[in-house]
């Protein structure tokens, strides 16, 4: 068996720190941006007539994001992020077995 594949599915400290770093860098501005969009959307719907046509793209965005927001929480509650590094080892191991049998 390939030793590179046969590794415990534990996450190294560097991986954890990098992931958290990127997550904060990405998700914090994302949440702020989303909140700002939503505030603008409410202001718009209160009567700024000139900008009403902008509702179409904003609604598109809100619907798409809402779907992914729900999917995100579904994934959390179904353990999709538990043992987060495991799928990368399973995938390689399955590939090796499939190739052997081919």
């Amino acid at each position: 068996m390939n030793p590179a594949i046969n590794q415990p599915s534990r996450t190294s400290r560097a991986q954890v720190l990098t992931t958290i770093g990127f997550a904060l860098l990405i998700l914090v501005p994302s949440v702020l941006g989303f909140a700002n969009k939503f505030r603008e959307f409410i202001l718009l719907s209160r009567g700024e007539v000139d900008g009403v046509f902008a509702i179409t793209p904003v609604v598109n965005y809100l619907l798409a994001s809402l779907g992914f927001f729900c999917l995100f929480f579904w994934a959390i509650y179904h353990g999709m992020f538990r043992d987060i590094e495991a799928p990368k080892f399973t995938m390689l191991e399955n590939e090796r077995k499939l190739d052997e049998e081919e």
């Binding site: 390939n2 590179a4 594949i5 590794q7 996450t11 991986q15 954890v16 990098t18 992931t19 990127f22 997550a23 860098l25 990405i26 998700l27 501005p29 994302s30 941006g33 989303f34 700002n36 969009k37 603008e40 718009l44 000139d50 900008g51 046509f53 902008a54 179409t56 793209p57 904003v58 598109n60 965005y61 798409a64 994001s65 779907g67 992914f68 995100f72 353990g79 999709m80 992020f81 538990r82 043992d83 987060i84 590094e85 495991a86 799928p87 990368k88 080892f89 399973t90 995938m91 390689l92 399955n94 590939e95 077995k97 499939l98 190739d99 049998e101 081919e102």
Partner: protein, 468 residues
């Protein structure tokens, strides 16, 4: 006891993968021919001058549609037919179509070729829909929409059967099936039937960019997260980080298309929002590129010895360049200079060919010999294909990007329009040469594929002996 896996032969329909790739290559030829004719038109060397059926505006649309829906979509469908069953260990849904005696996968194959061919014919006959990137004639739109629905119906069930956490490629594919369906509907039907004026412009902007970000990008990254680890024979550096990239794309991407319409009557807060979300997306891109380079660490020799890996990482090199470029070009200040110039054309070519097509050609380079059970006819021709494509797209992109700056400077100086045309001619000549290099690379690849196919077929005497 170790769980027994299904056999590869029971999971993957290799013939279908192969024919999707062949169809992709045929449409790539049509697209490149359209690109060459357009390049000649810009040099005032139009060979079909005066023939309405072959007017430049029409073959330009064939150039873009054939590459997006003919090459890229076919190559992705072939790739999905290989990857999804192997990653999920379940066959694709593929129910029998009543009355046709074929499965859904083959029905999708034939329907998709029909959609793309009908689009080309419709465009030549002047029936284009007035939506950028959505020029598909309106009578084809419902068929294409149905095709995308069938793709989702065919590929989502095996992913839904997976127990436990999903591998990142499957997250990307799952999202792409939903996004592509919604994006196509939004871009083709809303401006046609439901919204008008500036709102239609805003929706058009979303559509243009969402086609890149929500159709091509998730499928492209899905491919990369699958092929790079198996070719390097080691796992991706951080699966957690790859998921951050996926969710970042999901939340950031949908609103940035309006950056195509800066300085228009669309409300400024939407324009600013698009600019900010585009720049923010660069952080997502950085996380993905970081992850792949961390994976390559210790295996850089593969860049010289493993051609598919070289295609993949060359595509990533252009991906980094094009995203970096994007972060600058979406700012209002930068737009003042480059808006409507050939900078944008250079950027688009670098994204579509330099990134996604290079990844798909890498995938074909890896899979075609496996599908034919025969080594490549010529490694030297493979090297020629790579270098002609890599140099050709680099030359074309940088040539057009630099030209865009000159054009912008000419226009902002309020010089006569003809001045910008005169200065463009030498750059357009270089662009034609670059295109010819890419076409040469394509022809070399086609010759190699045909020869490999011929080698893979048993000689008549051997076949007769085997039959006896």
């Amino acid at each position: 006891m170790e769980k027994e896996l299904p056999r590869h032969a029971d999971l993957v329909d290799e013939r279908l993968v192969y024919w999707h790739f062949m169809a992709a290559l045929i449409f790539m030829g049509a697209s490149m021919l359209g690109g060459l004719l357009m390049a000649l038109q810009l040099l005032r060397l139009n060979p079909f001058s005066g023939i309405e059926l072959l007017s430049p505006g029409r073959w330009r649309m064939i150039h873009t549609n054939a590459i997006a829906y003919g090459f890229i979509a076919n190559a992705f469908l072939g790739g999905l037919q290989w990857i999804v069953p192997r990653l999920t260990l379940h066959k694709v849904y593929n129910p029998k179509i009543p009355g046709l005696n074929i499965g859904l996968s083959w029905a999708i194959f034939w329907a998709w070729q029909l959609v793309v061919t009908a689009t080309a014919v419709g465009l030549l006959l002047g029936q284009a829909q007035a939506v950028e990137w959505g020029e598909t004639p309106i009578w084809i739109d419902p068929v294409a929409q149905l095709g995308l629905l069938l793709v989702a119906i065919n590929y989502i069930p095996p992913i839904a059967k997976v127990e436990g956490p999903l591998y990142v490629s499957l997250w990307y594919f799952l999202a792409a099936f939903v996004w592509t369906f919604l994006t196509y509907a939004m871009g083709n039907f809303m401006p046609q039937y439901f919204v008008t004026g500036t709102a239609a412009g805003a929706v058009g902007g979303l559509f243009i960019h969402d086609l890149v970000g929500l159709f091509v990008t998730p499928l492209g990254w899905g491919l990369m997260y699958y092929f790079v680890p198996i070719l390097l024979k080691k796992p991706i550096w951080s699966h957690g980080l790859s998921l951050v990239g996926f969710w970042g794309l999901a939340f950031f991407y949908p609103l940035q298309g309006i950056h195509h319409f800066l300085y228009t009557p669309i409300p400024m807060f939407l324009q600013y929002g698009a600019v900010i979300s585009t720049i923010a997306l660069e952080l997502v891109v950085a996380s993905v590129i970081f992850n792949f380079h961390a994976t390559l660490r210790g295996s850089t020799g593969a860049l010289t010895t493993n051609l598919p890996i070289r295609w993949f990482y060359s595509g990533m090199f252009y991906y980094f360049l094009t995203c970096l470029q994007c972060a600058f070009q979406v700012t209002l200040t930068f737009q003042q200079l480059i808006h409507f110039s050939d900078w944008v054309v250079g950027h688009a070519h670098m994204v579509m060919f330099g990134v996604f097509i290079m990844w798909q050609l890498g995938m074909m380079t890896y899979l075609i010999p496996r599908l034919l059970k025969t080594p490549w006819y010529s490694q030297r021709l493979l090297e020629w294909h790579y270098w002609l494509s890599f140099v050709g797209i680099g030359l074309m992109s940088f040539d057009l990007i630099i030209l865009g700056i000159f054009q912008g400077l000419s226009w902002s100086s309020l010089l006569p329009w003809e001045h910008s045309l005169d200065l463009s001619i030498p750059f357009w000549a270089v662009r034609t040469v670059a295109g010819l290099l890419m076409i040469a690379g394509y022809l070399v690849f086609v010759v190699n594929v045909v020869q490999t196919y011929l080698t893979s077929r048993p000689a008549p005497q051997k076949a007769a002996v085997a039959t006896a």
